[in-house]
């Protein structure tokens, strides 16, 4: 049911862990629905130098987090804000329909960490004006 790419990221998730002195931390999802993603970012001069994640969830949740962190590592904050769940799904070679919400959660986790970074540094990040970190993305 999962693509080889999903299984590969699930088997060997990239960027697992936490960053102690993170510049931005985002946590989305809830235990009730069975998936929680937490993303940590180290940002220098507007560039995401390091990113790590922790996820409680199914195979596609872990693979989506892993892929999302890969897609934004080394990118600028402005580029990372542009990350869509669609891009995560495509990079994974597709997700089963009932699992697409995992990619939405990954997009939200990235935005949430960027939002936290922006808040802490009194920055306005284009694309995050309407972002609500507490929004429930569970529409599955």
């Amino acid at each position: 049911m999962y693509t080889e790419k999903v299984m590969e990221h699930f088997r060997n998730p990239r960027n697992v862990g936490e960053i102690k002195d993170a510049d931005g931390i985002g946590m989305v999802g809830n235990a009730k629905c069975g998936d929680i993603m937490k993303i940590y970012m180290k940002i220098n001069n507007g560039i995401i130098d390091d990113v790590k994640f922790q996820t409680f969830g199914c195979g596609s949740a872990i693979a989506s987090s892993s892929m999302a962190t890969e897609l934004i590592k080394g990118k600028s904050v402005d580029e990372a804000v542009e990350l869509t769940n669609k891009a995560v799904v495509e990079a994974l070679g597709g997700l089963p329909k009932v699992k697409v919400h995992c990619s939405v959660l990954a997009e939200q986790a990235v935005k949430s960490a960027l939002y936290d970074y922006a808040q802490k540094n009194n920055l306005v990040v284009k694309g995050l004006e309407d972002f609500n970190p507490d929004e429930d993305v569970h529409e599955h």
Partner: protein, 386 residues
């Protein structure tokens, strides 16, 4: 490829070779329709009756109280809809529990739409039906109590004798879904005052697509399948002779060394439970600690999710199952785990391992060892493990 360990015997079991050997004859040389009067037909008829005798004996029923069906789901559907229809004049109230199989629950929901009233009994933290609530729920218009013999997910065995006694005293029909219980413990329908009982062959090393409904003589029950005169005009359709033969053989094998079989599986189960408890922290055994099926192990592992757990175990060649939402395709985790009061995140992290007598101690130890690794790996990834 490495090792393969199958521990999902509550889902289905391997059909035993002796069973297949019996069945094959009824595909090639003995292919007659049991309703035909010539020798080939009579041979098939005799084979069916032999199987019927075996199944009847196994639960201490009479032969003419056993009706073959396509499986547990049909038996459950037939029992509920058949009793409801046939006893309409008496009442429209049915009592069941919150932890029944979907074959019961969805049939009850269907009957509710048809105007029947259904009471869903609560269970305690071990998954045992609340007997006091059962007594209080009985009304003048109650026509049926349907409570599963043992739960498919957490293995809890219900106080069937007590329920049977209550039903008898009140003159209410009592059905039990014994799909998981058959093969796990001795069942005597007379002693337990059971009026209807569902069973399935593929849970006891028989073929898929065959089951039976035991119907106590004199029970008012409408037909479910309409058509020919098969099964004493109670269940139409040409009999699945080879499957019935396989079912019969599976029961005979089980009957032959029942006590040894149970003893062996119980030992494996207890070794597995001990192994997991001794080696992994922050876990919970789901289901009754003592009154549980001989083959059932169900644990929740804090901080991790069941589907991930199953996929990692699958990579190690281990087949198991989970009550996580992600494995069911719905938002909510298993209704059984919710009914015993687990928090959502704990229910999402459940794992069911169900044994057969083909499993070995070495396999049990392998599963424990791999489970330790896999749970650790997932806990490292989890944000909940602080």
């Amino acid at each position: 490829m490495g090792k393969k360990v199958y521990m999902d015997n509550a889902a289905t079991t391997q059909t035993k070779q002796e069973v297949i050997n019996e069945m094959i004859k009824y595909f090639n040389e003995m292919y007659g329709n049991p309703s035909s009067i010539y020798d080939l037909g009579r041979t098939s008829k005799r084979a069916i009756n032999k199987a019927r005798t075996s199944v009847a004996k196994f639960i201490n029923a009479d032969e003419d109280e056993i009706y073959f069906t396509s499986g547990g789901t049909e038996s459950d559907n037939w029992a509920l809809k058949g009793v409801a229809n046939a006893n309409k004049s008496k009442g429209n109230h049915i009592i069941t529990s919150k932890i029944e199989h979907h074959a019961i629950l969805h049939t009850c929901e269907y009957l509710e739409k048809q105007g029947y009233e259904v009471t869903y009994l609560d269970v305690d933290e071990n998954g045992v039906v609340n007997i006091e609530q059962l007594k209080e729920s009985i009304k003048d218009n109650t026509i049926l109590i349907t409570i599963m013999f043992a739960n498919n997910e957490i293995g809890t065995i219900q106080p069937i004798k007590e329920i049977g006694k209550i039903a008898k005293e009140k003159g209410i029909l009592f059905h039990t879904d014994a799909v998981q219980a058959v093969g796990g413990l001795r069942i005597d329908v007379k002693d337990l005052n059971i009026d209807l009982l569902s069973m399935s062959a593929h849970k006891i090393n028989g073929p898929k697509g065959i089951g039976a409904l035991y119907v106590k003589k004199g029970t008012k029950l409408d037909n479910f399948m309409h058509g020919g005169a098969q099964e004493s005009k109670k269940r139409a359709g040409t009999e699945s002779v080879q499957n019935i033969v396989g079912f019969g053989k599976a029961v005979e094998i089980l009957e032959e060394n029942f006590d040894e079989h149970i003893e062996k599986i119980t030992k494996l189960r207890d070794r597995l439970i001990k192994g997991i408890k001794d080696n992994i922290a922050d876990i919970k055994l789901n289901g009754h600690p003592v009154n549980r099926l001989a083959n059932n192990v169900n644990f929740s592992f804090n901080y991790i999710e069941g589907e991930s757990l199953l996929l990692y175990l699958d990579m190690e060649g281990i087949s198991a199952s989970s009550g996580s939402a992600c494995t069911s395709g719905s938002l909510d985790p298993s209704h059984v785990l919710m009914a015993i009061g687990l928090k959502h995140e704990i229910a999402h992290g459940s794992l069911r391992l169900t044994l057969s007598d083909s499993n070995t101690e070495e396999e049990v130890d392998y599963v424990v060892q791999k489970l330790v690794d896999v749970v650790n790996r997932l806990r490292v990834i989890s944000p909940l493990k602080g």
